[in-house]
């Protein structure tokens, strides 16, 4: 028997499971063994649910016997921001360290329905606030390509686990780049869908108008398969779109002739590593060679995106995180009166970055400051959205680097939050505009670290960005490199 089943992609495993080449239990066991082998180095998982996963796998095997659903028997890791019924959901925070939700997030329920197996819950920056997974209350995750480096964040556990073959795919969330930036830094594919494409019900909220759920996978095809399973209307989320969900996988035909690709002149900035610049430009050349037309576009307000984001996201977060008060669930500190209960619970429960953002957001909404900060940020957000609308008049997709650098070292940016925030400079404006975007590997730097390329589409343009990504994947001069450190 193939003892490296964990190396498979979803589409490979799907086919093999249907042919009964191996069982879902064997595949799950292979992943669980891989998890035991690499976790001491990576710390990608906060919870490993071995027996539950094997029970799910056994059930999947029974379903496989008579016409199984799409993801039947596929081990998929879940970022610890998704509510999982009966399974601890911590959001990588002390304040929810022992919280066990009585319900499933809609996407978790959909994956269950589709037969997926859940090996466990994945590490992240606390409440998804961060770009390196160093803000986890339960220790950082390490980059499988170099253990001294970060996997990116906030979905760093998801990206690292997929890159290190601990699971075939993972769920992540992306508020300002939290799927795409770690996907870039760990050399996997990650997609942030259009805002409203995927239900947010049961996703612990960070910034409600920006949060979006998406998959991290080994290949573009796997992302297409996952997207079809995740997307679609949800009566529990009133912001979720009722648009029908297309068969994304069927659109992966490699055909990009005459497709117009826009390259924003503002996105090739100072401080970007030359190797990132050249890898993205080489990828653009390959697209041109396949018949696409590459042209320069402008997104003039993108320079304000980071500032705008840190007002809107923190304002929303300051309200979203108010419910962690020690009254109904989660951590409750010893206290003599009510205000002490609030103060101590939140002082002990939240880490420094979360506190910083709650304070910033509270300030931005305060009377006397609201107009100058929150309201102005909303106006700039509209301008950024219009930039994209105008740009998509002249092109079909936009291509940029995902992050200005490859994976940085642990501790390198923790002392300077602003430097950390800038690592999301290319991804943030996409969330502000509510658009879909994908990150995929497009080469490696001199240290063998993956470089990420971002493809941005118009609203509900998941199909076209997956098609372009698939074409790029097909024309890649070198295959995906396995992470060296695990």
């Amino acid at each position: 028997m193939n003892n490296e089943l964990f190396r498979l992609t979803i589409s490979q495993a799907q086919a093999a499971l249907r042919r009964r080449e191996f069982s879902a239990v064997e595949l799950t066991r292979a992943c669980l063994e891989r998890i035991s082998a690499v976790e001491p180095k990576l710390n990608a998982f906060l919870t490993v649910a071995e027996s539950e996963a094997l029970i799910q796998a056994a059930a999947a095997d029974r379903r496989l016997a008579n016409g199984a659903p799409a993801l039947c028997g596929i081990p998929i890791g879940i970022k610890d921001i998704f509510a999982t019924r009966g399974m601890r959901t911590t959001c990588a925070s002390r304040i929810l360290e022992n919280f066990v939700p009585p319900f499933d997030a809609t996407v978790v329920a959909r994956l269950r329905e589709a037969g997926a197996v859940f090996p466990g819950k994945l590490n992240m920056d606390e409440f998804a606030m961060g770009s390196s997974t160093e803000n986890s209350a339960f220790g950082p995750t390490r980059n499988p390509y170099d253990l001294a480096r970060v996997p990116g964040g906030s979905s760093g556990g998801s990206a690292a686990a997929v890159a290190a073959d601990e699971c075939l795919a993972a769920l992540g969330t992306d508020t300002g780049g939290s799927i795409r930036q770690p996907a870039a830094l760990c050399g996997v594919v990650g997609i942030k869908p259009t805002y409203s494409r995927v239900s947010r019900y049961g996703v612990v909220a960070f910034a409600s108008s920006l949060d979006q759920v998406g998959p991290l996978t080994k290949t573009v095809r796997d992302s297409a398969i996952m997207m079809r399973a995740l997307a679609g209307v949800d009566p529990r989320d009133s912001t979720c779109s009722a648009r029908p969900v297309p068969d994304y996988e069927a659109a992966l035909n490699g055909e990009i002739k005459n497709l117009r690709i826009g390259v924003p002149k503002e996105f090739f900035v100072e401080g970007m590593q030359p190797v990132v610049d050249s890898a993205v430009r080489a990828a653009l050349k390959r697209l041109e060679a396949d018949g696409a037309a590459v042209g320069e576009i402008s997104l003039p307000h993108s320079q304000y995106a980071v500032a705008t984001y840190y007002l809107i996201a923190t304002a929303e977060a300051s309200a979203n995180l108010a419910r962690y008060d020690g009254v109904r669930y989660g951590l409750r500190a010893e206290a003599d009166d009510l205000s002490e209960l609030y103060g101590r619970t939140r002082a002990q429960g939240f880490g420094p970055e979360v506190k910083r953002r709650i304070m910033l957001g509270t300030f931005a909404l305060s009377s006397g400051y609201y107009d100058a900060y929150y309201l102005k940020a909303q106006r700039v957000r509209t301008l950024i959205r219009r930039d994209f609308e105008a740009a998509f008049g002249a092109c079909d997709v936009i291509v940029t680097p995902t992050s200005p650098t490859t994976a940085f070292r642990l501790g390198e940016k923790t002392q300077d939050p602003l430097q950390m925030y800038l690592s999301d400079i290319f991804t943030i404006s996409v969330n502000l505009a509510g658009l879909p975007a994908l990150s995929m590997p497009c080469g490696y730097d001199g240290n063998g670290l993956p470089i990420g390329l971002q493809i941005i589409g118009p609203a509900f343009g998941e199909g076209v960005i997956l098609r372009v990504a698939d074409a790029l994947e097909r024309s890649a001069p070198v295959p995906r490199r396995r992470p060296a450190a695990v």
Binding site: Y201, G202, S366, Y370
Partner: protein, 479 residues
């Protein structure tokens, strides 16, 4: 009353009323009073991590119904907002409310003034929000019951158009009656489904600027509203008369002690940091909904009062009694529709119907006979087939038994004797035994007529038709 004539009070009221929907405003839990603590709860109304609100469209319909009745403008698009503050009964740490763009703007409510003429009290706005849970303090611990968390609420804010406690109470009574007529709220103050905050200020009579106001929170009965406002007017007037300055304050009404106490500034000096609720789209009424609701909106008390005065010429008192509760007026009108004269219908409703309804703990509809049966009874009176007293006896029996009118009248033997021959016989019997009194009467002592009537009625066990008895006696006693 407490204000001296040199000063006038200016009062605005904020009313919170729970809407009669089957489920809560943002989740599927039952919107019901009286269940054991934390019985009607789910992850959404408990504010669990990751949950999202889904708006109950019924709340929109009921609010539009109120807004149309109050002559408000119904906003085509309104926006939910988060009102941020910490309190144990507020599970999310914010209340979903409406702030800059409420569903209903402006409007007015007509309140009967002291002189009987209607007076318009303007509204600032009517908006939708969710209720909080309820804190319960025990010696050993403080507990929270979230059954009420997420119950749909309307906040109805008046302009400062009221000038006395009596007027404020009249406005509240009118508003409550209106909400009950519209079947949007049960207006139950004891159960907290109708609550009031009052803003009170006093200024020199004739001044155009408002004085510093006191906000009195948590008033949960009409009596307390009047008491608290009068108390506050007297206090502020005394301060002004002594040459002092009223400070802006917030008072909390303590229902157990029946007094207000000032809240510490820490308790109310909130910066609520309102911002638009990102989890809910703008609230938009589907095309045609407003018009459909307008077409179905039931009559409100002020319109009904005007109609009763115009169509029936009833006294102001009768109109007041008949319109206070919608079902009372409905019953009155059902009697008329069944052929009862409006005077008789009004008298019967005000006396017998209300007596029976008040004596029962059932809703009016179930406490009394169907209007058709009562109408049958009243027609028997009109046709002299039973006496008015007989009808009252029958009605009381029908309330208990649920039997119909004819069966009850015959079972109780209440049918009236109108047969002249039979009555003449009874009269002869009485006159033949009372010869002295007859002589006295004929000598001019006419007051004795009533005595003879009474004797005849007694002889016939009250069944003789008094009108016939009168006629026969008059004839027989004639000299």
């Amino acid at each position: 009353m407490a204000a001296s004539s040199a000063y006038e009070a200016v009062i605005g009221l904020e009313v919170h009323t729970q809407l009669l929907t089957r489920s809560k405003i943002f989740c599927g839990c039952a919107n019901a009073f009286g269940a054991p603590p934390n019985h009607h709860v789910c992850p959404v109304c408990m504010g669990m991590p990751g949950v999202l609100p889904v708006f109950n469209r019924r709340v929109l319909e009921l609010t539009i119904r109120v807004g149309l009745t109050a002559h408000s403008q119904i906003a085509e698009r309104s926006v939910f907002a988060r009102k941020n503050y910490f309190y144990p009964d507020l599970p999310k740490g914010y209340q979903i409310s409406q702030y800059e763009r409420p569903l209903c703007v402006g409007g007015y409510i007509e309140v009967p003034g002291a002189d009987g003429a209607p007076r318009k009290i303007r509204l600032t706005r009517i908006h939708i929000e969710e209720d909080a849970g309820k804190n319960i303090h025990r010696p050993e611990a403080s507990l929270v019951d979230f059954n009420r968390s997420g119950a749909p609420l309307l906040e109805i804010v008046s302009e400062p158009d009221l000038h006395s406690a009596e007027e404020a109470a009249a406005y509240l009574r009118e508003l409550r009656a209106m909400l009950r007529y519209l079947e949007v709220s049960d207006g139950n103050m004891e159960e907290g489904s109708f609550r009031c905050d009052a803003n009170v200020s006093v200024r020199p009579r004739g001044a155009s600027e408002l004085g510093a106001k006191t906000e009195i929170k948590n008033l949960n009965s009409f009596k307390f509203v009047e008491k608290a406002i009068n108390h506050e007017i007297a206090r502020q007037t005394a301060v002004l008369q002594a040459g002092g300055k009223v400070e802006q304050q917030t008072h909390l009404w303590d229902a157990e002690r029946e007094e207000t106490r000032p809240m510490r500034s820490k308790e109310y000096a909130h910066d609520y940091r309102y911002f638009p609720e990102p989890d809910l789209p703008e609230l938009q009424a589907p095309p045609g909904l407003v018009e459909a609701i307008r077409a179905q909106t039931p009559e409100v008390p002020s319109a009904r009062r005007a109609r009763y005065a115009r169509d029936f010429g009833l006294s102001a008192y009768a109109i007041e009694v008949l319109t206070q509760e919608r079902e009372v007026g409905d019953y009155f009108e059902a009697l008329i529709k069944a052929g009862v004269h409006h005077k008789a219908a009004a008298n019967w409703t005000m006396s017998e119907v209300l007596r029976a309804a008040n004596a029962s703990d059932q809703p009016l509809i179930r406490a009394i006979p169907a209007a058709a049966q009562t109408a049958t009874l009243l027609k028997l009176v009109e046709q002299n087939r039973i006496s008015l007293n007989g009808a009252k006896t029958a009605f009381a029996a029908m309330c208990k038994s649920g039997q119909d009118a004819a069966a009850t009248v015959s079972a109780l033997g209440l049918a009236q004797v109108s047969d002249e021959a039979a009555i003449a016989e009874a009269c002869d019997l009485v006159l033949s035994t009372e010869t002295d009194k007859v002589a006295e009467y004929r000598a001019g002592h006419e007051k004795l007529f009533g005595f003879f009537v009474g004797r005849v009625m007694k002889t016939t066990q009250g069944k003789a038709n008094p009108k016939v008895v009168n006629e026969v006696l008059k004839r027989k006693l004639a000299p």
